[in-house]
């Protein structure tokens, strides 16, 4: 076993850190540590400008192959990049859906024409993407999608109708990738298509969802005969599920250490507070702070296992527990933050509903154990795939 990164990777780390130190300042100082989960609606224009700055330095899409304009760095160096980015307080990447989801899908399954048309805009940080998967009747049961795609022979275009929900950044994005049913009578995984759609058109309406935080990062997106060119379907009609699932494998845990750096920043803020306001004198709070620390350290070791394994085709149990583990940990951290603050935890930064960073984290972490596969779905997956217990009946 070896815990350290190679000399080359450490040099790369220094290069990333130095660039960030030189660039994440001046006009960008105000967006340090901003725009992450729970704060995604903030500083949109500044964060778009930051995407361009990143591109100018060659730091967008670092994991993409060089032939598509990426930096083509190894998994280890992608990990290092994310870790340093988070350490420096790099703002939430407003281009992340294009960079980590849409782009890799187009690279893996898209046509030449799609690659040429869509990849450069993502790379330059100029074109933002959103994801059209979940629907009112397709949450945990994602395959229950009802949005329809009908090919119109007269116009030679696809016409999409239906509704998507929980779409982050839909109001800021130029494009959306949409899962829709190409075969009217099909059910489940069959008969779906994967569409690359322009958002700015009369058939698409975006309605923000006001969350319990009082803010709106998520939206409902209504499609009423919205158009999508015949050339803008990825793969064949009916291949949509395969394309969508292929996408889930792309990230491969490279951002996990970066995510933990964000968590560590939050944890350290709570420790500072506890020392300052005397909560650190309470035996019960001390236990919970240490418990959070234990959880964070284990999460990091677990990610290192994830990143070191997988080559031999073995089922990676450490990867299967990851979502359930971090989401539950982070939700508990939110509550700990409020309990450390005590009575002061109620008082807002201002009216009508201006939350401070920890309040926002506390409320937002209630969604951590829901989005991206609820804790209950995660437990089903673990029991069935890792432990070989019988599958749940499916309608």
């Amino acid at each position: 076993m070896k815990l350290s990164f190679s000399t080359e990777d450490e040099q790369f780390r220094n290069e990333v850190a130095a660039w960030l130190a030189d660039n994440l300042c001046g006009e960008f100082e105000q967006i340090r540590h901003r725009g992450g989960p729970g704060d995604e609606h903030m500083f949109v224009h500044e964060r778009i400008a930051w995407e361009r700055q990143l591109h100018a330095g060659g730091w967008t899409c670092v994991g993409w192959p060089k032939e598509f304009g990426g930096r083509g760095v190894s998994i280890e160096q992608q990990v290092v990049f994310h870790e340093e980015y988070a350490r420096a307080g790099g703002p939430g990447r407003i281009g992340h859906i294009g960079e980590t989801l849409a782009g890799p899908t187009i690279i893996a399954f898209g046509s030449e024409e799609q690659k040429q048309r869509f990849l450069p805009g993502i790379l330059r940080g100029e074109q933002l993407w959103c994801q059209g998967y979940s629907e009112p009747a397709a949450g945990s049961d994602l395959a229950n999608i009802r949005t329809r795609a009908r090919f119109c022979e007269e116009s030679g275009q696809w016409k999409i109708s239906g509704q998507k929900v929980w779409t982050s950044l839909a109001h800021e994005s130029q494009f959306c990738f949409v899962l829709a049913r190409t075969e009217a009578e099909s059910v489940g995984h069959k008969g779906l298509g994967f569409f690359l759609m322009e958002m700015d058109q009369p058939g698409i309406k975006v309605v923000p969802i006001e969350q319990l935080t009082g803010t709106s990062e998520f939206n409902e997106v209504f499609f009423d005969e919205a158009v999508c060119g015949a050339q803008d379907i990825v793969g064949k009609p009916g291949d949509g599920w395969k394309v969508a699932m292929g996408l889930l494998g792309f990230e491969r845990g490279v951002s996990t250490l970066g995510q933990q750096m964000l968590f560590k920043n939050e944890f350290e803020e709570i420790v500072r507070l506890a020392k300052k306001n005397g909560a650190a004198q309470s035996g019960a709070i001390r236990q919970r702070i240490s418990d959070a620390y234990v959880g964070l350290q284990i999460m990091r070791a677990n990610s290192m296992r994830m990143l070191s394994g997988g080559g031999n085709g073995e089922l990676q149990k450490e990867a299967m527990i990851y979502k359930l583990y971090w989401a539950t940990w982070h939700r508990n951290l939110g509550k700990l933050a409020m309990d450390v603050l005590g009575a002061e935890s109620e008082v807002l930064d201002g009216a009508p509903y201006e939350l401070n960073r920890l309040q926002s984290m506390y409320l937002f972490t209630r969604s951590d154990t829901i989005y991206g596969g609820t804790n209950q779905i995660q437990r089903n997956i673990i029991a069935e795939r890792a432990l070989g217990m019988p599958r749940e009946p499916r309608g």
Binding site: S4, V294, K317, A383, L387
Partner: protein, 389 residues
């Protein structure tokens, strides 16, 4: 970064697994645990003469195999899984480590080859208060010539009634806490020592009470840092803490595996019990705890290696030992308790082995400090304030 077992480490783990599957069966465990000695001398002889496991972490210059902590932990995990009854933990994880960390060159040359040859040994520091920090030590050592006279008692000593060699901590009169601590190595048959087995709820790990009445120890048996040995003892305890966490990891894993196997067979209301979601979710939570324990233990083992070899990350030893022990203690107890619940009525019988794991979970949780103890220790590091009285 290669945070996974090498092929050689996998082989060591698989060999331990295969050997223990044959040698540490339920029947073997039950027969050994019913005795005062607590282990089968023939099995111990196989372990030391054929498998040579007791030599694993002893450097080659003293006749050992010179392997690292990751290899040791791989083996301990299997011992926990099979509830091994043997003086392996006390001899290797307590005594050999103590000699390696605090022994003088002469002591290492004399005693490590004895352990390699099959002698047993243990470490005693905790008195009747049953604590695990420096305040636990209440045996008094008074200088006499170039040596000392020791008086007082030790309690909860693993295999203390049967070990051939003892390593003990004592403090100078009128000292408190971390001050005035010395370490000694002496034969268990030394004059003035009386040893008594303490029957325990977990019968797979034997404990003893040792009374020291005017025990005379000469200078050659005083270990390094005479009078200020607490930092060395703390390091020994941290290494032992990582090791017991590995035993807990193996036990946690086995409670999960045997529970899932049972649930797949047991039919109620016309379905296997494993098909009920209420049951599946409990099993999934058990697996989360097993895998998180594994990440904690393997990481701690890497740091323990660094600490033994003087690497830069070695300074994290206290922190990772407490992290592993806090997590693995609670995880093992949770898993063993849940396993009894999921087994239903048979989980409460003496016949099914799950009860043995439940008891070992509690005894390993208490030993060297439970989750609460280790979290408070971490709190002192993190919050930089004195512990709440």
């Amino acid at each position: 970064m290669e945070f996974k077992f090498t092929e050689e480490q996998e082989m060591i783990r698989d060999t331990a697994d295969a050997f223990l599957a044959r040698a540490s069966t339920s029947a073997a465990v039950r027969s050994a645990m019913a005795t005062e000695l607590g282990y089968d001398p023939q099995l111990w002889s196989s372990i030391t003469q054929e498998m040579f496991w007791q030599a694993i972490n002893i450097p080659e210059q003293y006749g050992g195999m010179g392997l690292g902590y990751v290899e040791l932990v791989a083996m301990l995990e299997q011992m926990g899984r099979y509830l091994l009854c043997a003086p392996f933990y006390s001899t290797v994880c307590l005594a050999s480590n103590a000699l390696l960390v605090a022994g003088t060159e002469q002591q290492k040359e004399k005693y490590l080859p004895e352990i390699v040859a099959g002698s047993t040994a243990t470490l005693a520091y905790t008195g009747a208060k049953g604590r695990w920090d420096a305040s636990a030590i209440d045996v008094i050592c008074k200088p006499q010539g170039d040596g000392f006279i020791l008086n007082g008692s030790y309690r909860f000593v693993p295999d203390g009634h049967s070990a051939d060699l003892l390593i003990v901590a004592a403090r100078a009169a009128d000292t408190q806490g971390e001050e005035g601590i010395s370490l000694f190595v002496l034969p268990a048959t030394s004059e003035g020592i009386t040893r008594q087995w303490l029957p325990t709820m977990d019968q797979t790990r034997k404990q003893a009470q040792l009374e020291f009445h005017n025990v005379s120890v000469d200078g050659a048996n005083v270990m390094r840092s005479r009078g200020s040995a607490w930092p060395l003892l703390q390091k020994i305890i941290d290494l032992a803490t990582v090791a017991i966490s590995a035993d807990q990891l193996g036990g946690s894993q086995q409670t999960l595996d045997s529970t899932v196997a049972y649930l797949q067979e047991r039919v109620q209301f016309g379905r296997v019990v494993a098909s009920y979601q209420a049951v599946k979710h409990k099993a999934a939570d058990m697996m989360v705890k097993v895998e998180a324990s594994r990440s904690a233990v393997y990481y701690a083992a890497c740091i323990a290696d660094e600490a033994l070899q003087g690497g830069v990350l070695g300074s994290q030893l206290a922190e990772v030992a407490s992290t592993a022990k806090a997590y693995c203690s609670d995880a093992y107890f949770h898993n063993a308790g849940t396993a009894i619940q999921l087994h239903g009525g048979v989980g409460f019988t003496a016949e099914y082995d799950i009860q043995l794991y439940f008891k070992r979970a509690k005894s390993t949780e208490t030993f060297l400090g439970d989750g609460t103890f280790h979290r408070e220790r971490l709190a002192c590091i993190l919050l930089d304030v004195e512990a709440v009285a």
